[in-house]
């Protein structure tokens, strides 16, 4: 298992790999979007502009499949940002990995700060197996979405947004929905909402994390022996292809669920 490079900034545990990866992801998304919209043209769009317009059209169709387009229009930008961010984030972990290995707790430092996650692990291993050489590996490059705290952050954003919108823009129907069909169902409805939040974040995290775990496992196999190295090549190819698929699907699923949750909380039941 790879550790995360966490340093302590006065009680604030800063995960450097997450900071790096979030910056990289945001930069890639922004640069792609900016390049695509550099020479905007109404009548003669360029290739990248066409691509981004196709993406916008795709997201637009996703939104209008969950709610009335008039209601869903303000979320187009958010959905575009989300799907691009998550897709790029999912893909980043597949490219390569940067892993550093530490055996000495005193050397596990960066910018003169102690990497607390590494020292913790090293001390633990020392206590468990005194005398043996302890070691810890730190992954610096990985998908930001392979971290549960990041995906839960995204899920939390969606949770707060959808419930905020429901509470302030659709107050009566939103509150009524908690005691339907009977007031007895209130705890069940509360659990449902909470489970939506948890599954929304964990689904994305688990899919991407599992993909990365399997990739690092295959890498371990490749390092183990010559035969393992030979076998690992087709395995890695297959699994990388599948991971690209999973990454794309998860980005899609995350965004469509976001739109579904928002539309559920904005539902007015006018038609009934």
């Amino acid at each position: 298992m790879h550790e995360a490079p966490i340093i302590d900034l006065g009680g604030f545990r800063l995960d450097l790999s997450i900071v790096i990866m979030l910056v990289v992801t945001c930069a890639i998304v922004f640069i792609v979007a900016k390049l695509a919209t550099r020479n905007l043209s109404v009548e003669n769009p360029g290739k990248l502009q066409n691509f981004l317009e196709w993406a916008a059209e795709f997201v637009r169709n996703m939104i209008s499949s969950t709610m009335d387009w008039k209601k869903g229009k303000p979320f187009l930008s958010l959905a575009m940002t989300m799907i691009m961010f998550i897709f790029v984030a999912n893909m980043l972990g597949l490219l390569f990995g940067v892993v550093t290995e530490y055996t000495d707790a005193d050397k596990a430092k960066i910018f003169g700060k102690e990497i607390i996650s590494v020292t913790e692990v090293l001390h633990e291993q020392h206590e468990k197996h005194p005398g043996e050489e302890a070691h810890a590996e730190v992954a610096w490059w990985k998908s930001p979405t392979a971290d549960v705290s990041v995906t839960m952050g995204l899920a939390l954003l969606v949770f707060l947004l959808s419930h905020g919108l429901g509470l302030f823009k659709n107050t009566k129907n939103y509150l009524k929905h908690y005691v339907q069909p009977y007031p007895l169902f209130l705890p069940i409805n509360l659990i449902e909402q909470l489970s939506k939040l948890v599954t929304h974040g964990v689904r994305l995290f688990a899919n991407i994390f599992a993909g990365e775990v399997l990739i690092s496992t295959i890498m371990t196999l490749a390092k183990a022996s010559a035969m393992g190295a030979i076998f690992s090549v087709p395995l890695l190819m297959v699994w990388d292809g599948f991971s690209i698929f999973v990454g794309a699907i998860q980005a899609f699923v995350f965004v469509i669920l976001m739109m579904v949750y928002i539309s559920q909380n904005l539902e007015t039941h006018d038609e009934h």
């Binding site: 997450i18 945001c26 922004f30 695509a36 919209t37 940002t81 961010f85 995204l154 939390l156």
Partner: protein
């Protein structure tokens, strides 16, 4: 696997900044361009529909104009036919009248000619008969004038009877 809430905060900040930047610099302009294109297409469609309508109206107009021209031509032909037949009738009538007039004139001429001939004949016959008679009865009739009157009277009676 451990939950580091700091990561959550950082992720939220990152996505917030990304959303703000994309919205301001990329998606805003992109969506406005897409909207403009939609409007352009809509406008062109409308224009095309309008043009088609105009073309249809124009064709309709042309058709009615053609119809009218045809009707007019028909009317003209009809009118000229009528005029010509009327003229023909008029000509015929004129010719008839002329012929009638000529005939009447001729009849009148003949009549007057005949009357004159009769008159002449009468006077000649009167003179001749007077001469004959005077030659026959030269000795008995001395007063020629009285005899001539007698003969005239007699001949008048004869002419009136004939």
């Amino acid at each position: 696997m451990s939950f580091v809430w700091e990561n959550t905060v950082i992720a939220l900040i990152a996505i917030g900044i990304l959303y703000f930047l994309l919205n301001k610099y990329a998606f805003g302009p992109l969506f406005s361009v897409m909207e403009k294109r939609r409007e352009l297409v809509q406008q062109q469609l409308n224009e095309a529909a309008q043009t088609r309508e105009q073309a249809a109206a124009y064709v309709e107009e042309q058709k009615s104009a053609l119809q009218e021209a045809r009707k007019e031509a028909y009317e003209i032909i009809e009118q000229s036919k009528q005029t010509s037949s009327k003229q023909a009738a008029q000509l015929l009538q004129q010719a008839k009248e002329e012929a009638e007039r000529l005939k009447d004139e001729a009849v009148r001429d003949i009549q007057s000619e005949k009357n004159r001939a009769v008159e002449q004949l009468r006077s000649e016959v009167g003179a001749v008969s007077v001469k004959i008679a005077s030659k026959l009865i030269e000795k008995e009739v001395s007063e020629e004038k009285v005899q001539g009157e007698l003969v005239d009277q007699y001949l008048k009676e004869v002419g009136g009877r004939s």
